[in-house]
């Protein structure tokens, strides 16, 4: 009837007993094991707004630009690199969205609007044949069936049997990708691939279930009893959140964010698919399922109407000119490509109301993507890598687009980088170039990953080799 000391001691012992819950979350590898280096290429459509993207100063610790603000948080800014003044013109041609797509990851010469060389993701992936279950993975978010714009919507090219190259569409169906990656029976989880613990996903699923059950039982009770079970439910939710927030994971299949999906191309699924893709990319990297991936949002010359994604985003502008690409003067639209062409000039001295609004909307769209990329980086940061650092520490995320901005130009591309490949690259820096070709960015990444064969990348005569002042 008192509180024996024995029980107090046992109570303290509870701290040890709580270990199994985080067992799956603790570092499982010695800190001396070298970690793999990974690269992720993120594509978003129809360019940026240069003046709102480019930091106002060059060099270390640049001030955050309006678009890059979400990546300039204390947690992410050390990883952030801005590469300005780089051109993506190796393909030549007439500067269309289609050509921008073809050149985007290949930096190759074009033929009939398509690339003639393989893309960087394929080139890197070729180095991991037999090393990882998947040489590279292509994730898509609504890259097909555009109501407007081009349907040729891939940026990955690989060698074609019998010569030449061919395009590779990204996988738009995250459920199919999930099965491919995380099913122990049909996916990369089986057959000698790294064992996936799946523990995090299961922990979350069980806690979800139990929190829900407390709510259900609470609903059958009254007064204090009801409040008590609701409180219990809330505490389980908090436990789940803290488990997710505090646990560093070594390798775990993510929770399958979407259980069923009638139409992966429905714009209403855009965000959910984006989230699920990011979960899968982080897990696939952490589990060494692959070291190279692309994540493509929509297509070049995007036909996406943002109102279909979520009207609350308010990515909507009113056309000022009758010539505005298919919109019509005075008409409001959330059509991405349409809005991208509304500004008459891209650095207007005295912008009219329509131009101002369009620039503001595109800026917000770009900042929204910066936020998504930031959340992806944080997902990577939550996984402990084999060297004891986070997976983000050994990753580089390269964010690109098919045109610099709505004027179709491909000079001074808005290239944003998160990650430094274990310190092989400088970060928290704005590097300003004057006309280097973007194949050199890929040569730099391949080199920084410690791979051979990346002295140059892309079209000869354009590429000069790695950006040495980016390399550490």
């Amino acid at each position: 009837m008192r509180l024996p000391r024995r029980n107090l001691l046992r109570g303290l012992g509870g701290a040890c007993l709580s270990l199994p819950f985080l067992e799956s979350a603790g570092p499982a590898f010695g800190a001396t094991t070298p970690a793999p280096k990974r690269a992720l290429f993120v594509f978003t459509s129809t360019g940026s707004v240069r003046k709102n993207w480019k930091p106002s100063a060059v060099g270390m610790d640049p001030p955050p630009s309006p678009i890059l603000k979400p990546l300039a948080t204390p947690e992410l800014k050390p990883y952030l690199t801005v590469l300005s003044g780089i051109n993506a013109g190796a393909g030549g041609g007439t500067n269309t969205h289609l050509e921008g797509m073809a050149c985007c990851l290949t930096a190759s010469a074009l033929s009939g609007g398509y690339a003639t060389g393989i893309s960087i993701d394929t080139a890197l992936g070729n180095k991991f044949k037999g090393v990882t279950p998947f040489e590279s993975l292509q994730f898509g978010v609504k890259t097909r069936k555009p109501p407007n714009g081009f349907g040729d919507s891939f940026i990955t090219y690989r060698d074609r049997a019998g010569g030449g190259v061919e395009g590779v569409y990204p996988e738009d169906n995250p459920i199919a990708m999930y099965a491919k990656l995380f099913s122990t029976t049909t996916g990369g989880g089986a057959g000698g691939a790294p064992v996936l613990s799946q523990q995090l996903a299961r922990n979350r699923s069980v806690l979800d279930f139990v929190a829900d059950e407390h709510k259900r039982v609470a609903a059958s009770l009254n007064g204090a009893d009801r409040a008590r079970l609701e409180e219990h439910s809330t505490m389980i939710r908090a436990l789940e959140q803290s488990m997710v927030a505090n646990s560093m994971l070594t390798c775990a299949a993510p929770k399958q964010g979407i259980a069923t999906l009638s139409d992966p191309e429905a714009a209403s699924n855009f965000r959910a698919i984006s989230d699920m893709n990011m979960d899968m990319i982080a897990a696939a990297f952490a589990c060494d399922q692959t070291r190279v991936a692309t994540l493509q949002y929509s297509t070049g010359e995007s036909g996406l109407n943002w109102d279909d994604v979520d009207p609350a985003l308010n990515f909507r502008a009113t056309a000022g000119r009758s010539t505005d690409n298919g919109v019509g003067a005075g008409k409001a639209t959330s059509w991405w490509h349409g809005i991208s062409h509304m500004p008459d000039t891209w650095d207007p001295i005295n912008p009219n109301a329509s131009e101002k609004q369009a620039l503001e909307v595109i800026t917000r769209i770009q900042a929204w993507f910066a936020e998504q990329i930031g959340s992806l980086a944080l997902r990577l940061k939550k996984y402990t890598d084999k060297d004891g650092k986070s997976v983000l520490d050994n990753t580089v995320i390269f964010w690109t687009t098919e045109v610099a901005q709505g004027d179709h130009g491909r000079n001074d591309m808005p290239f944003t980088v998160v990650g430094n490949l274990g310190g092989a690259l400088k970060s928290n820096i704005h590097l300003a170039y004057n006309g280097r070709q973007h194949g050199d960015v890929f040569a730099t990444i391949g080199t920084a990953m410690g791979l051979t064969g990346f002295n140059t990348f892309g079209r000869q005569g354009y590429t000069q080799g790695p950006l040495t002042d980016w390399l550490k």
Partner: protein, 567 residues
């Protein structure tokens, strides 16, 4: 045997409380409305020596009473205690490691772990449940056929999982799993199976079961109005749960659940029959052992320091003796207060026998002995009890006296007044015995005098027992030890020569009898008694005051009282 002469304690208790006060509604088919009917104590008594008495033709006449009927059990939703959790887990999956030992201890107002207000809810509690569920499920899932009761290979995975959820869930929830619940657990199974395979699916179902509020809480939705205002009937499954958690500190077995299912827990006769079964079942010993263990604070023995001879093994033996004594005397022999206080019987192993100076006992096995001579009576002189109220190197008369007044007589806590500086008691020396030193410091002037005059004498009575219950005829200066004194402020005041005479006085004390009744009430009803419980309290007191009152009758009476049958 006691059973044949037992008084109808349960009858008097219940009749006095409800049967004779208000006309009961007529029996309702299948409903528990007839639970409190006047036949409660009058039937069912078997007289069989192997069964506890529940009444009989020779029972004492019910005492007419003008008190109010007792309140039902407290309404607050109660969680399983650590004991209940451990025992239930052992029943469900065979894990006897005591997974709840690391949970926060209960700290309710009654002093017993059953107290309804004893279990605070906080994030640590929630994390403990999650951790325990994870650990238990992981280890149980290593032997699926044993856990599931079906072979997934032979039967088919889905069929086996479906059956497992239904059958295992019934025991976890202490009622059948609803169709909706079945579907939800099957969905969880499917989801985890997809992630980690069949075993993972089952493991996570088990994990969710063990974290479910329907496992952790005693959810009582009730089954309609009871026989009078303010009372709500319990469903048969809820009744089964109350019974099993009370008698076994564990969930119901299949027999009890089947009884609930088949209408076998609807009448008081049925409930009493189950209560008897539970009490006399092997697991029924938990109730008696745990109640007395907690009352006497025997669980503290493990953490005491009493010098080199007091080993953890010895501490365990002492605790075991106390528990075995009450279990054997109450459950098997129908002992009442007087016998418990004065019996020469006890149960010892080799090391306890050495303390008792009983020759010829070897081995760690416990066996029954008669404690001859004038040293030992009942439980108060047991080594464990003496050890608990002692200093590391000698017995503590003040703690022993305080224990008797507070815990045996249920007197209010005797605490020094605020601001009183406790004087340093000088060691015994050639001039004065330690008793003389203590008396000079505590019994001469206020503010110490009043209380210490009450508590010191019964403490000095045990002066010949040292800090581990060993016997000394003289003190370390070879002087005789004075154990005489006068008991005051009780219903059995008077002088005594030593502890045996004191014990004999206490054995006849109504106050002490009533005290034990009160404590049983607190344990069973999970709260402190209030003015509205006067009737119940008086009946409990009356029951014990008959001196030969069989404790089993009191227990069964409590378990069939309104407070227990309704909410």
């Amino acid at each position: 045997m006691k059973a044949s002469v037992a008084l109808s304690l349960a009858a008097s208790l219940t009749l006095a409380c409800s049967g004779s006060i208000e006309p009961m509604p007529g029996p309702q088919a299948g409903g528990p409305a007839d639970i409190a009917g006047p036949s409660i104590g009058g039937s069912g008594g078997t007289g069989s020596p192997s069964k506890p008495p529940v009444g009989g033709p020779g029972g004492a006449a019910p005492t007419p009473s003008a008190c109010k009927p007792a309140d039902p059990l407290p309404a607050p939703l109660r969680r399983l205690t650590r004991r209940e959790y451990n025992n239930t887990i052992a029943d469900l999956i065979g894990d006897t490691s005591g997974p709840a030992n690391s949970f926060s201890p209960e700290a309710g107002s009654t002093g017993f772990d059953t107290a309804a207000d004893g279990a605070a809810l906080n994030d640590k509690v929630v994390a403990n449940y999650a951790t325990a569920a994870e650990t238990l499920a992981r280890s149980a899932a290593k032997n699926l056929p044993a856990l599931m009761g079906c072979d997934p290979v032979a039967m088919g995975e889905q069929a086996c999982a479906t059956q497992f959820i239904a059958r295992f869930g019934r025991r976890v929830f202490r009622r059948p799993v609803s169709t909706d619940e079945q579907a939800r657990y099957e969905a969880l199974f499917a989801s985890s199976r997809q992630l980690g395979g069949f075993a993972a699916g089952i493991e996570d179902v088990l994990r969710a079961f063990l974290m479910s509020p329907q496992f952790l809480y005693r959810v009582e939705l009730g089954a309609g109005p009871g026989p009078r205002a303010g009372l709500t009937k319990l469903s048969p499954y809820e009744m089964a749960t109350r019974l099993s958690l009370f008698f076994w500190a564990a969930g119901p077995d299949d027999e009890l659940l089947n009884a609930a299912q088949s209408g076998g827990l609807n009448t008081v006769v049925q409930i009493k029959a189950q209560a008897q079964r539970l009490l006399m079942h092997e697991k029924g010993g938990r109730l008696v052992r745990d109640f007395y263990d907690q009352w006497l604070e025997a669980d503290a023995l493990d953490s005491l320091f009493r010098g080199a001879t007091f080993t953890p093994t010895l501490a365990g033996s002492m605790r075991q003796e106390i528990q075995t004594y009450f279990d054997q005397l109450i459950r098997q022999r129908g002992a009442g207060w007087s016998e418990l206080m004065t019996s020469r019987t006890s149960f010892v192993n080799d090391e306890l026998a050495r303390l008792y100076e009983i020759p010829g006992i070897t081995g760690t096995q416990f066996r029954e002995v008669m404690r001859q001579g004038d040293r030992h009576r009942g439980f108060l002189t047991m080594p464990g009890i003496m050890t608990l109220r002692a200093f590391p190197n000698e017995g503590s008369p003040i703690h022993r006296g305080k224990f008797i007044r507070e815990q045996v007589m249920c007197e209010p806590k005797l605490m020094p007044l605020a601001g009183v500086v406790i004087p340093k008691i000088p060691p015994a020396d050639a001039g004065k015995t330690s008793r003389q030193q203590l008396e000079e410091k505590t019994q001469v002037v206020e503010p110490c005098k009043t209380c210490h005059t009450l508590m010191n004498p019964p403490g000095f009575a045990f002066g010949k027992f040292d800090q581990v219950g060993g016997w000394h005829d003289v003190d370390d200066q070879k002087r005789p030890i004075d154990t005489a004194g006068t008991l005051s402020g009780t219903d059995v005041d008077g002088s005594f020569q030593g502890h045996v005479e004191l014990i004999e006085r206490l054995a006849g004390s109504k106050q002490a009898n009533a005290c034990v009744g009160k404590l049983w009430f607190r344990y069973a009803v999970a709260r402190m008694e209030t003015a509205t419980d006067d009737c119940t309290m008086r009946d409990l007191s009356d029951a014990f005051t008959t001196a030969k009152g069989d404790v089993r009758s009191v227990i069964l009476g409590l378990a069939t009282s309104d407070a227990f049958l309704y909410r």
